[in-house]
Amino acid sequence: MIEVLTETGTQEPQRIRGLEMPWNRVMGSNEGAARAAHALGPWHPQEFMAECVETVPEAGGMMTFVFRRCDGAPLAFRAGQYVNVAFPVNGEEPEPVDRSYSLSSSPTEPWTFNITVKCDPTGLVSPWVHANVKPGTVLEMLGPVGAFHLPDADRRARYLLLAAGAGITPIMSMVRTIHSLPGQADVVVLYHGAAAGGFAFHKELAYTASVDSRVKVFYSLGDRSIPDGWEGLSGRLTAAMLEEVAPDANGRQVYACGPEGYLNTATELLKKVGVDDTSIYMEFFSGDRQTLLEYQAEVALAADFAEGIAEEIAESAEDYYESQPTAFGLYEPVYDADGTLEASGLPLEIVAPEAPGSDASAESAGGEPEAASPDASSFDTVGTGSLTMSFMRTGINVRIEPSERILEVAHRAGVRIGANCKEGMCGSCKVVKLSGEIEMNHQGGIRAREISAGKFLPCCSTARTDMVIDA
């Protein structure tokens, strides 16, 4: 039975100009109650434990996991950011597997937060997550991180949000955030999916669009065959489709998230319809493209804090690890007097490099433990610079200046180190430092326990002394 209600008042709501995130004013204030509310503002990435409190199956093989922090604090973040989660996929293995997942909930509801995970049956982590993370599961997380997010204040607030497949998760956070805030905004969502029934959040998106005149949502079925009754668009992203859903794309800020191929196409097309590349923000879920950074300063600030915290933690590494709950059965590292990190219950693997001045040891980074370190003095030396970096696996010495980023120099010298973001966010370039001192400017791509275990991110590090590197 459908009851038809005649709608009367069709007037537009009256709104304040532009959008402003609720923490914006609080962060600028140091007085009284506002001071206490600082906890609600995104400030710097932290390491914390979070408990799953709900799981919600979504269309398209996705599952939303609702978490709350174990310490009860709200999770402050910006719509579009992600958390890095340590999943103990191998049960008792010493190293959990880290994965980054965009937050799909709105930071205006900070007491719980959601990540939405698409199950990739061939993947290592996502099937495990779907099968094992349940209410009660406690996981170690780091976040929030990422420069792909809405600005804290925007008096224009005209957005074109492009999502393909699982790329909808950070976009969903943005839509939810804008919907929950007062203020003028103009949001067009264009959401590409593979199957008519596979659009996660489509009910909520439809509802939001129906009650919030600021939000318009368009669906397109990509290049799949179109079932009867499909009312959305069809076909892959084209310039004509962009013109159709947002003829004023040219004047909007564009946030796009999805697989690399989709985003590469989007970049081209957006240029074609006249969107300036400084108005395009992208989150690559795969591939090696670099995330566009608009908020360099803000992120750098966050990184400073993160590093400060990491150092603090590293100084009291023993206390830190002892303070971690062991009851969850995730891992039980032991920190011994020599600074060796060991996984309890497993054979101890120690790399004891003979490089002079070395006081740090670390477990092997997944590869074969070095039986005996070769002698770096027999390596070829390339490049110029005041410091020497010895790459033990590659067998080369590279001269470097203290101002140069280690990853670039290493790449030039032919040392193979994987790298994605090149900005200290993704963690893919992580290597073990056998000796020497570096200065690292990371943005959440590495954890304190990893730093204290001698790892670092060469993409965002410079050398302070001669170095010996396990790569």
Binding site: R156, D186, P247, D248, N250, G251, D276, S279
Partner: protein
């Protein structure tokens, strides 16, 4: 909007009354026998008496563009505007309105404010410290032993002010022409979407051109000479002022591109509810105006080599950068370009019969960050170059007007706006002398 107080300044036709009858007859004849469709006789550009008449009949009677809101955003902010014998203070008052005051101390006539712009509470004359309120009232004058001194009689002289869509106009006549409000109604809807109240000055340039102010205006009112503006020609279609049938072969391709860009622009304007039609009443009303929104070449966004935006922040509530340029010509002393990303205002302030100050001001959104959203060098490049080229053209003409060999030449079809300007000018002066 400004409340204005009328203080009689001088009686009408004062200058004409003081001129020897013979000289006055000569000058009146010059106006009367002006040859339509031709440039003016030399004395209009060189004669100091005609310059005085211009100051009285045009700059003393009509609404002139003085500044934009961005130049005085806060209460107490002021600019001084000098032209001919006049100096005006344009001051943002505490009520948000604008006061226009003559910058002439009522004690012994010293300039009260000597800076080009600034912020002030009360206005203190530097000579003997007479102190005026922002409204112009004399509030303090140390007067030892004076008994009969009535401060109420010595306020700064006030003139009329109007603020429309972020542009500030001044009129020093006792009774300003009444049709300005109608003109304002024409241009207000074109300008309002650019929201000048939310802009700031990115750059201001003052150049003195060695030429009569009318030559400066004439030069602006045609694009016949636009071949001389290579930088501007990147974005501005050099077919400006031409119509079908007048297009020379070498511009045919440009013309076709122009037409297509124009129709795309008009579609966009209709979508956003922006007016674009040409309104042209340059000499058919007292407050003469031409306004329209026209396409730009390339990306169609701004005055850059490829037509791409020069500031990354959209003005006002505009939704699109590809809005071409809304251009406005006002008689007697201004023209403007309103784009999606910035605004350029041009004010012409005569100094004497052979020198003119041209003030060009580039405005961007007030939240645009220099070095991030815009680069002042790039923002100003095209019009700085164009201004220099125009200055040279004007100066060549001024030199010509000084030669005994000079005689008025015919305006071409594409120079119809020059004719309209001159026709407007001649009519206004004749009305004044009558």
């Amino acid at each position: 909007m400004t409340a204005s107080v009328n203080v009689p300044l001088n009686s009408r036709g004062k200058l004409a009354a003081t001129l020897p009858a013979e000289q006055l007859a000569e000058i009146t004849a010059l106006f009367e026998f002006r040859r339509t469709g031709h440039s003016l006789d030399a004395p209009f550009y060189t004669d100091s008496t005609i310059f005085k008449i211009d100051m009285e009949a045009i700059f003393g009677q009509h609404w002139i563009f003085a500044a934009s809101t961005a130049e005085l955003p806060e209460p107490g902010d002021y600019v001084t505007v000098d032209y001919g014998p006049y100096s005006l203070i344009v001051l943002r008052n505490d009520d948000g309105g604008v006061n226009i005051l003559h910058n002439v101390c009522r004690h012994r006539g010293a300039r009260v404010l000597t800076d080009a712009a600034g912020t002030t509470g009360n206005l203190v004359c530097g000579y003997h410290s007479w102190t005026y309120s922002p409204e112009g009232n004399l509030i303090h004058a140390s007067a030892p032993g004076e008994t009969k001194f009535d401060k109420g009689c010595f306020g700064l002289k006030r003139a009329h002010g109007r603020e429309v869509a972020g542009l500030i106009f001044a009129c020093i006549a006792d009774e300003p022409p009444a049709d300005f409000d109608e003109t304002a109604k024409i241009f207000e809807p074109y300008l309002a979407p650019h929201d000048l109240s939310k802009t700031k000055i990115a750059y201001q340039q003052n150049i003195i051109e060695e030429g009569n102010w009318k030559l400066v205006m004439e030069n602006n009112r045609e694009c016949y000479h636009c071949d001389g503006h290579p930088e501007l020609a990147c974005s501005l279609f050099p077919t400006w002022g031409l119509t079908e049938g007048l297009i020379p072969a070498h511009l045919q391709e440009v013309w076709d591109r122009n037409k297509e860009a124009q129709s795309t622009l008009e579609d966009r304007c209709r979508r956003y509810g922006l007016p674009y039609e040409v309104v042209e009443q340059l000499d058919t009303r007292i407050a003469g105006i031409r306004i329209s929104r026209e396409s730009l070449d390339g990306d169609g966004e701004s005055f850059s080599p490829d037509g791409h935006r020069l500031s990354k922040k959209l003005l006002g509530d505009l939704r699109d950068f590809r809005l071409g340029r809304c251009s406005m010509h006002l008689q007697p002393n201004s023209w403007f370009h309103f784009l999606g990303d910035h605004v350029v205002t041009f004010g012409v302030f005569p100094i004497n019969e052979h020198q003119t100050l041209v003030r060009t001001t580039w405005l961007v959104a007030d939240d645009a960050v220099e070095g991030i959203d815009y680069d002042p060098e790039k923002l100003t490049y095209t019009w700085k170059q164009t201004n220099l080229q125009d200055k040279a053209f004007v100066e060549l003409c001024q030199q010509g007007a000084g030669s005994p060999a000079y005689e008025p030449g015919p305006y071409m079809k594409s120079e119809y706006q020059v004719e309209a300007f001159i026709n407007w000018y001649v009519q206004r002066v004749q009305e004044h002398l009558a």
